[in-house]
Each structure stands twice: as structure tokens, then as C-alpha cells.
């Protein structure tokens, strides 16, 4: 078995999106709560938070965690009215 077409496309996409400077997962974690709150409130994001957005486009695990956080914030907001 080998890499599938989907996996190769994923690699090409990751390489294409690569920047010289990127946040690592720990740096992303430190900022993702602010990013999620601003996204939920429909507010614009600062330059440092744009780096979070980029990291989320590259890192599948951080993206999975962000989506879970966002779903949670939405549900809590709904419950708290």
C-alpha cells in the first residue's frame, strides 16, 4: 500500500501553504482561546491572531481542537442565553 492521491494532495497543499515563520502548536494553544472568542463575536483578528489562523490551516490536530473549542463556546453561549 502507498500514499493515496488524497494524501499526496494534502502534502502538496501543506508545502504550498508553508511560510518561513510559523507558530508551533504550543504557541497556537496560547492564543487560540482569544482567536475563538473573536471569531465567535465576528470581530477582526490582529496580525498575531492571523498566525493562529495560518497554523490551523496547516495543523490538523490543532484544527480539531479549535473546532471542539468553538463548538463548546457556541453551546455554552446558547445555554447561558
Amino acid at each position: 500500500m502507498t500514499l493515496s492521491k488524497k494524501e499526496i494532495d494534502s502534502l502538496l497543499r501543506l508545502v504550498g501553504l508553508t511560510r518561513e515563520s510559523e507558530l508551533n502548536c504550543e504557541q497556537c494553544l496560547a492564543l487560540v482561546s482569544e482567536f475563538a472568542e473573536r471569531q465567535l463575536a465576528g470581530k477582526s483578528v490582529s496580525e498575531s491572531l492571523q498566525h493562529v489562523e495560518h497554523h490551523l490551516s496547516i495543523c490538523e490536530e490543532c484544527r480539531e481542537e479549535y473546532e471542539a473549542l468553538r463548538r463548546t463556546l457556541e453551546a455554552v453561549e446558547e445555554q447561558d442565553g
Binding site: 497543499r13 504550543e26 482561546s33 472568542e37 480539531e64 481542537e65 471542539a68
Partner: protein, 202 residues
Amino acid sequence: MSRDNDRWLTDLREDGEAREAALSELRTALLRNLRQALSRYSVDDAFLEDAVQDTLLRILDRLGQFQGRSRFLTWATSIAIRVALGELRRGRWKDVSLEGVLATAGFVPDQIVDRESPPQAQAERRALLHTLQQLIEHELTERQKTALLAELKGMPQDEIARHLGSNRNALYKLTHDARKRLKRGLETAGYAAEDVVATLPR
């Protein structure tokens, strides 16, 4: 929840009743949030309780890192989610060997080309994939190749890092450096990054 960020920090840093009350409130809130966050996953209460306990220890250890740029509870929840999903990923992959994953991580450019596409598109795609294959083979270190390909096969970063005797941050740097090398190599060969991305299915 009536505590503001300063109240959380002050109480959690104190000894005695105020700290116990803050910890109890935080535990309850994190349990509620984590249950919501993981509603799409198959987890039981014992798993959630353990994850919250691990999270509380991490939070107490990192209070100085909280910058106050979000609500304290949002920050704490982001840590709880990382802890819990990390544990779930570890559980799913604990019996999978890195060697087993890498054995499936090669590729044959000719087999990936879409034979339904026009001949010129097939030829261009084949050339791009040959270049990518050469770059992976000759421009990456063995460690970079291992990390990048295992990640591509879906192995969690913590697991790859554990196999390599590393950690998630160091692994990210390793794969980031690998991606930069591949990007430079593709550009040198005449493939602009944005053009490559533009040809991929969304």
C-alpha cells in the same frame, strides 16, 4: 460564573478556602465544557474526570502564562480539550508501530495520476510528482522524512514524537523545516507554491 479573570488568578494562587472554592468551580465548569466539546466522541465520565484532573494540574502549573487576552475559562477549556483529545489519540494509536505506518508511506507517481484527465494535464501532474518524490528522497533527512510521512498517514504528533524521542513542538519544527525544503525545491524546479495549491481539489 461570576468570576472575572483577575479573581480566578488571585484565588487559584492563594492557599486555603478561596483556592479550594476556585478549584471546585473550575473543575465543574471544565467538566461541563469538556462533555460538550467531546460530545461527538465516544468517552465515558471516568475519562472526562481524568482529563479534567490532568487539566487542573497543567493549569496550576501554567497560571503565569495566561495573558488575559480571553476569558480565563475559555483558555482553561482550550487546555482541557488538548489534554483530552491527546489522550484519545494516544489510545487509538498506542499499538501502532512507526515502522508499520512508514511501510505504507511510499508513492508511485504514475499510479496517482488521474488517467481520465487530458494527456497534457497527466504529463504535468506526473512531472510534478516525480519532482516531489526526488525532493523527499534527496533533500530531507531520514528524521524529517519519517516525521512528515507518518503525519501524512494520520499518526498523531505526540505519538510520532514519542517514537522519535522528541516532543510535539520539536516535531513541528522538524516537519516545518521539511516543508520549507520541499517548497524551496519545488520553486527551484519552477513550481510556484500558489500555482501548486491552485491545482488541488478543495
